[in-house]
Structure formats: C-alpha cells, structure tokens
C-alpha cells in the first residue's frame, strides 16, 4: 500500500535532494561543463556577506512569523468555531488570502503599503499613530513581510478549527460546573486537547516559513531596501541560480536551508519530548 507513496517520495523528494547535494560540490552554470569544487561552494557561502544577511533575515522571520501565525490561526479558530450569525462568512474571509494567487496578493500589498497613499498609513496617520516607511526602511520592510504572512493562515486556521471542534462540549460544561473560569477552562481543557494539532502546525509552519518569503521579497520589496534588508534565503538562492547562473552555489545554499529546517523541527520534537517527560503534556499526549 505504501509503495506508490515511497516511489513518489523517492522521485520527487529524495532524488532531487540527492541531486542538489551533488550539484553543491560543482561550479556549474548548466550551460558549460561542470567543475568539481568539493566544499568550495560552502566556503564561498561562508565568505559571502549577502548570504549571511539572507540567513539572518530568514531566521529572524521564522522566529517572529511562526509564533505570530500560530496565535492568529488558533485565535481565529477560537473565535469562529461556534455556529453563529456571520461566522461562516468570517471563516470564508479568513481563507481568502490563502487561495489568492501569490502575485495578486503581492500587488495588493504594494498598494496597501504605499508610503504616502497606502490605506495602511492613511489609517495610522488618521489615528495619530506613526506611519512607518514600509518599503523604504529596513526595519519596517521586514515587519511588512511578517504582516503579509499573517493573513495567509488558511490551512493552519482549518487545522486549528478542526482541533477546536474536536474538544467535547461536555468537558467545558463539567469544568464550568466545578467553578472554572473561562480562562482556566481554556488553559486546562481546550489547550491541552488542541496541543497535538498546534504542535503539528508549528512544525509545518516552520518548514513553510523558510520558503514563504520568496514572492513578497521578489515582488513587494525586491530584496531591499538596501542593503539586502529583505533578501531572504529563497530569494538569494533564486538570484544565484537563475540570474547569476551559479547553480552550484545555489544548491549549497539550498542544503543550508534544508539543514536548518531539519534542525528546527528536531529541536521542536525535543522540546515536546521534554514537556512530555516533565508531565506538562501528559494528560493529552499519553
């Protein structure tokens, strides 16, 4: 039964990954003859200031965006899980950004974040709040990419919604009967039952977030403002490969993304394991 899946994984995941690993040891433009350089591309990456900047940008994006996206997706699930007037429309609205074409979504944000005429700054200005230079200053530009990602939480929202609906209503009634406050019921009943789904979301989102910056960085901020404020690893890899024809170096950078992603997921599993051993998740996970 698992044979088709394994064949698919071998052809679409393991094969390309192996090919990338081999390519990372060559200096090759895919036009002329490849030249074996061993760890030359890795050394080149270490010396490349732009790569280091892209790596730092990607790590900081993941560190900020993943928790923020988790809070937004699970928060919306808490608010919208009950049948109520307008809840269906709200649930649909939460999904819309996720089904929009990436390019259209990016162009929409170019307008929203226009420094002088964009609705975001017009609203902030009208409220007497600071109006950040979203597309021309490094800090606000990085926040802009994070904010853009907060609306594309459709799959996480659905997962959290399903997990919330799986919580038996009787448990909340029992907790209420014992005098538990809503916050206590959430912390001691809802959250532990949803925890496995939320942990799955975190792992999945960590993997996805290392790649999710590509379109906004390419179309909205163009990797800038200078110097390389929003050049994340996917954009760096794209430019090395397709604009500068340095496929070997791009492959080496791709392996770095793969290694960091694997390490991040491994650390999360270790953390979960630690929590389990400490008994914090025992009621749910055992």
């Amino acid at each position: 039964m698992t044979a088709p899946f394994l064949v698919g994984v071998a052809l679409l995941v393991a094969g390309p990954a192996l090919g990338t690993a081999v390519l990372a040891t060559f200096d090759w433009d895919l036009i002329g003859a490849p030249r074996f350089v061993g760890l030359g591309n890795a050394r080149d990456l270490l010396e490349d200031q732009v790569f280091r900047r892209a790596l730092a940008n990607s790590l900081s994006f993941v560190a900020v965006a993943v928790p923020a996206r988790l809070v937004v997706a699970s928060g919306l699930a808490m608010l919208l899980h009950r049948p109520a007037r307008g809840a269906g429309v709200a649930r649909g609205a939460a999904l819309v950004p996720s089904v929009m074409p990436d390019a259209a979504y990016a162009v929409l944000w170019l307008w929203l974040l226009n420094p002088l005429f964009g609705p975001v700054n017009l609203v902030l200005g009208a409220a007497g709040l600071p109006t950040p230079a979203w597309l021309t200053q490094p800090g606000p530009s990085r926040w802009a990419v994070v904010i853009m990602s907060l609306f594309v939480i459709g799959d996480g929202f659905l997962l959290a919604l399903a997990a919330r609906r799986a919580v038996p209503a009787g448990l909340h009634e029992l907790a209420a009967g014992q005098g538990a406050t809503p916050w206590a019921a959430f912390r001691r009943v809802t959250l532990p039952i949803m925890a496995p789904a939320l942990l799955l979301m975190v792992c999945r989102d960590t993997v996805a977030s290392f790649q999710a910056t590509f379109v906004p960085a390419l179309l909205v901020t163009d990797g800038g403002p200078p110097p390389y404020a929003t050049t994340y690893l996917p954009l760096y890899i794209y430019r090395q490969a397709f604009e500068y024809l340095r496929y070997g170096k791009a492959a080496a950078a791709t392996l770095v993304v793969l290694a960091i992603t694997a390490a991040a997921v491994w650390l999360q599993f270790r953390a979960v394991d630690g929590l389990r051993r400490g008994g914090l998740l025992a009621r749910v996970l055992d």
Partner: protein, 397 residues
C-alpha cells in the same frame, strides 16, 4: 524570447506580425517576459533544459554571461553571406557592444542612449531656456532647483526638478563626462576605477542631487509614485531615461515635452542602451531564425519597431528616415538620439557584469537617499570592496 513593458511587447508583436504577413513558411512563437531578470531566469532555465528559444533579445549588459559560456551561435557566418543584412549598414557602436573581437555574436536591434526628457511648459512658465546640447551639469542642477516647488505652500514639494534612478547605468555617463573611468581596463576589467578625482567628483555631484540640492524626489516619494509616472502627470520637470519611455510619454496630452542630451561636466558623454537578437547555439531552427532576423533587422522590420516610438533603429538608413525622425510624432528633437550614438559608450564587457551592477546599485541607492548626505569617497571604497571578488570571478570566466 523578449522582455519589456506593455508598449515594448506591443512593438515586438507588430514586428512578428509584419514578418508573418510577408511570408507563410515560418511561424514565429513570441515568448514574452516581464523584465531583464525574468528573461535571464527563463533563458538560463531553458538552456539548462536543453530546449532554448531560437532567438532572444537581450541588452549588451546581460548577454555577456551567455556569450562567455558558449551558449550563443555567432551571427557572423550568416552576416558573411552574400545579400541580406550588411554589417556596415548598422551603427558601429551597438555592433561593437555585441562582438567578440572581429566576430559578430549578436545583431543590435536598437541603439538608444541616456537622455533628458523635459516638460517644456514648466520650463517656459519658469522663464527658463530649454536644455540644449552643451549645457552644463550646473545648468541642470540650477534649472532643477528653480523647478522644484511647493506650489500650494503646504510644506510638501509638489513639483520636482529632476527624476533619476540611483543606479550605475545612470551614473556612468557623468563619470566619463568628468574625465573619469568606471573600471581599470575597458577590455579586461579587474576592478573599479572610481577613485580618481574626476570620477569621485562626478559621483559626489550625483549623490548631492537628493540631499544637498533636494531636486529629486525622496525615497518614499519615489516609492509612492515612480519618477516616470511623475513626469507623465506633470509633477516632474526633467526625467533621465533612455528611448524606452517614449511610447508612454506619447500619451501625454496636458503639456508639451521634448528631449535633450545629457548635461556635461567636462566633455559630452552618454551611455549606450542597446539590445540585440542573439541566436542560441542549441537553436532548433537556425535558418528560420535568420530569416526572421533579416526581416526584423532589415528596413521594414526596423521601421515597424521605430514607428512604435520604443526604439532608436540600429540600421542607419531607418534611423535617418522619417520612420524614426517623424516630425509629426513627439519628441520633435529625436535627432538627439542619433547625435548621441557618436559619443555613446558601453559599460564594460564581462560575464559577471549583471551581478556587479546589482551589487553597486544597492549601495548607490542607499547612499543616494542617506539622511544628511553621503560621502563619495566612502561609497567608492564600499563599491570597490563589494565588487572586487565579482570582477575576479568574471575575469576567470
């Protein structure tokens, strides 16, 4: 495979339609992409996949990385055939930009250069003379300052005097005009040469346009409304651009506009903007591709392209004809482009040039908009540091 905005792509479609109208044996499939970067990406992916387009149209600033790697089939053998296109029918400057020694690799489709478009009504209203050949850098800055105005007194500038991108391709002609050089060796460059006094002076003058002179839009203003749109809506008096923008500017109805050569530091100079048709070495239909080139680069095809306003023909006979110098079509001073060809210089020919330009443009933009103004000496040192390894890699290609 071609890249460009809507007006540019429309021009290429017209050329293809013209070709298909005069013969029925060869069908052309035009592959359109958005910009230079996407063209490079699509082309390299197609080359890697073993199925490249027969022809592609690319700037001389980008084609070197493909030429150096043997991805192109030289067009010299086709040019040497009797009849058809003749090399001496083209302007030599764009031809040289696409040649490897005596071998013509690609054939230029246009021979544009950097110029100054100006809003004639704003100049007249301010009592200023229109810019003319020989005008000086200080004349331009003075005019731009006079034309930079807060019309309604709200503390915000409503009309800026000048719009120019902070990019190497805009800065280069002024370095040459001041008597400086971009690189140490024009034919085999190994690093930048902006440290000379003339070059540094030109760089500083360029940087001063924003913060010191205040005649160009701020970073935020340019991001909110780009300089081309500002010129079209009448809120920018002068725009430094190539011929590329003419189809867009021809839609202007509210004011008169025209074109002038670049202002001068010490000697007249401008930078070549030229694209050429290149034949890929793995082309499946080289003879049919050449048949298309004979039309597209011949009098008929170049006249069609010129009629769109987008191109300065690379073929002398068409460039000097009414197809380009049409007195009924703006700009009335299109002769400026033809005069420029004589003085137009190409940026260096090195396989890693696109990477060098990208690295330089980022630093240049940062310095251009730096609050309080930037020092040219510091910028030049930074540019040299970041580009030195890229030059080294390029010289090994």
């Amino acid at each position: 495979m071609v890249a460009g905005d809507a007006a540019e792509l429309a021009a290429y479609r017209q050329v293809v339609a013209g070709f298909e109208a005069v013969q029925t044996e060869v069908a052309v499939r035009l592959i359109e992409v958005a910009d230079r970067d996407e063209l490079t990406a699509r082309l390299s992916a197609a080359l890697a996949g073993g199925a490249p387009p027969d022809l592609f149209l690319m700037s001389y600033r980008s084609y070197g990385q493909f030429a150096a790697r043997g991805a192109l089939a030289p067009l010299q053998p086709y040019l040497d055939r009797a009849g058809g296109l003749e090399a001496n029918g083209f302007y030599p400057q764009p031809m040289a930009a696409f040649a490897e020694g005596v071998v013509q690799t690609c054939l230029p489709q246009n021979a544009s250069s950097l110029v100054v478009y100006y809003n004639a009504d704003l100049f007249t209203a301010a009592g200023l003379e229109s810019p003319a050949r020989g005008w000086r850098w200080r004349d331009m800055v003075g005019a731009a300052a006079a034309l930079t105005r807060d019309v309604d007194g709200d503390g915000m500038v409503d009309t800026y005097g000048l719009g120019v991108e902070p990019a190497l391709i805009r800065l280069a002609p002024f370095v040459w005009s001041a008597g400086g050089e971009l690189v140490d060796d024009e034919t085999e460059p190994t690093r930048l040469a902006l440290g000379s006094v003339p070059a540094a002076t030109a760089v500083q003058s360029f940087l001063d346009l924003r913060v010191i002179a205040g005649v160009v839009p701020t970073d935020e203003e340019a991001e909110a409304i780009d300089i081309e749109t500002r010129f079209v809506d009448g809120s920018l008096a002068m725009l430094m651009e190539s011929r590329r923008v003419v189809p867009t500017l021809r839609a202007i109805e509210g004011f008169e506009w025209d074109v002038a050569p670049l202002p001068v530091h010490e000697r007249a100079a401008t930078v070549l903007h030229a694209d050429a048709y290149c034949l890929t070495a793995a082309a499946a239909h080289p003879e049919q591709a050449w048949a298309f080139l004979e039309f597209a680069l011949g009098p008929e095809g170049q006249a069609i392209a010129a009629s769109t306003g987008r191109t300065v023909p690379s073929l002398r006979s068409v460039a000097t004809s009414e197809a380009f110098l049409d007195p009924a079509a703006a700009p009335s001073r299109s002769q400026v482009f033809l005069d420029n060809i004589e003085i137009a210089r190409a940026v260096p020919h090195i396989a890693t040039w696109p990477e060098i330009e990208d690295a330089m443009d980022g630093l240049l933009e940062e310095a251009f908009y730096e609050p309080g103004g930037a020092e040219a000496v510091e910028l030049i040192a930074a540019l040299d540091g970041v580009t030195a390894p890229i030059f080294e890699r390029g010289s090994q290609s």
